[in-house]
């Protein structure tokens, strides 16, 4: 976490310097809008006002309209990847059937949801996954046959685990939430999702 803080501070420092060097007209609207938002919201259910405080990554994505300059993006991605906690026993694949249930659910974290776990993985909201589920979103790429196409060896398992744990490890301003990083999905749930995507027995690869 210390590492993360350093980088975050660094990012802020960079941001501040660039702002000072080349002020942009929209920067002013942006800070005014954010101030307005912070003034206009109220806590409800589990959704507290702290949710409007942006962390370093959100700050950078907001600042650069989701396209941070490459050196900064590389730095932050590495930093995010460093936050991924892999299971101590090294086992990254769980039960794809459990994974399917998690992928189906979109519940969790809204002010009408009960606080606490488990929350859903929201996967079908954005991805095509099992061929049996026709009601899928297209915000993210299709994951159909992903295990068949890209293998299911240890490296691939590790990649998928880390991608679900913290999607920003690979694409800093990705639209995908950081499910493990923010504590939405626990280790066991992510393992089940890895199995849903990579297990040869999973309908995803049939």
């Amino acid at each position: 976490m210390n590492h993360f803080k350093n980088i975050a501070t660094l990012a802020f420092a960079c941001t501040a310097m660039i702002l000072a060097a080349a002020p942009r007209a929209e920067g002013d609207d942006r800070s005014r809008a954010i101030a307005m938002v912070r003034n206009d919201f109220q806590a409800k259910g589990q959704a507290g006002l702290d949710r409007l405080e942006t962390d370093a990554l959100q700050h950078v994505c907001n600042k650069y309209s989701n396209q941070p300059p490459q050196p900064l993006a590389t730095l932050i991605a590495a930093d995010q990847l460093a936050t991924v906690k892999y299971p101590a026993d090294g086992k990254l694949m769980g039960d794809w059937k459990e994974g399917e249930k998690i992928a189906q659910s979109g519940r969790g974290f809204t002010w009408t949801d009960k606080p606490g776990l488990p929350v859903g993985g929201n996967c079908y909201n954005c991805h095509e996954i099992s061929p049996k589920e026709l009601s899928f979103g297209t915000l993210g790429p299709t994951l159909r046959n992903i295990g068949k196409l890209r293998g299911n060896g240890p490296e691939m398992q590790k990649y998928v685990f880390s991608k679900i744990h913290n999607a920003k490890s690979y694409n800093v301003c990705s639209a995908m939430p950081r499910f493990g990083h923010i504590g939405a999905l626990n280790e066991q749930q992510i393992r089940h999702l890895v199995a849903l995507l990579l297990d040869p027995e999973s309908p995803v690869n049939k």
Binding site: Q104, S105, R107, T112, G120, N122, Y124, N125, S135
Partner: protein, 157 residues
């Protein structure tokens, strides 16, 4: 037989006190219609029992009874259904949803002047067959059905 009289006779089946009350001028005709609600048919929990309660146990399939409903409903809470009978002398149309807790949704009697054509919006608790049953003046029953799929909503919540 006109509608009012049929209503009265059925009301009598449900309880003679009703007819007596009406005769005594206690109840206005509209109140009679409310009491006339067909408990047996509306409270039946399976299609077979509903049909029996309607007297339509032996309804025959008919192509002249046209049921228009979506293949996939956007929302099970409001499924538009339109039923038209081309069967001569159709006097009533009922509509049922097989998988609902109580299959019978509605029943309409048509008097002189009204066409046997009705549109109505129904709740479907899940994917189910929707069934129309038409009755002719000579007491024969005809039926048609169509499956309506109910889909998953957005955002999983």
């Amino acid at each position: 037989m006109d509608l009012i009289r049929r209503t009265l006779l059925r009301g009598a089946g449900a309880g003679g006190a009703l007819v007596a009350a009406l005769a005594a001028g206690v109840l206005k005709p509209t109140a009679v219609f409310a009491a006339d609600w067909n408990h047996g048919a509306f409270e039946a929990k399976e299609t077979a029992a509903t049909l029996k309660a309607l007297g339509a146990g032996t309804a025959a399939d008919s192509k002249d009874l046209v049921l228009n409903a979506p293949d996939i409903a956007e929302n099970g809470a409001v499924v538009p259904v339109d039923i038209t009978s081309k069967i001569p002398n159709t006097v009533s149309i009922s509509v049922l949803v097989d998988k609902n807790p109580f299959p019978l949704s509605a029943s309409f009697d048509f008097a002189e002047g009204a066409l046997p054509d009705v549109s109505v919006r129904l709740k479907l608790s899940q994917t189910s067959n929707v069934k129309a049953v038409a009755k002719t003046a000579d007491g024969k029953f005809y039926t048609v059905q169509k499956e309506v799929k109910v889909t998953v909503g957005g955002c999983g919540g």
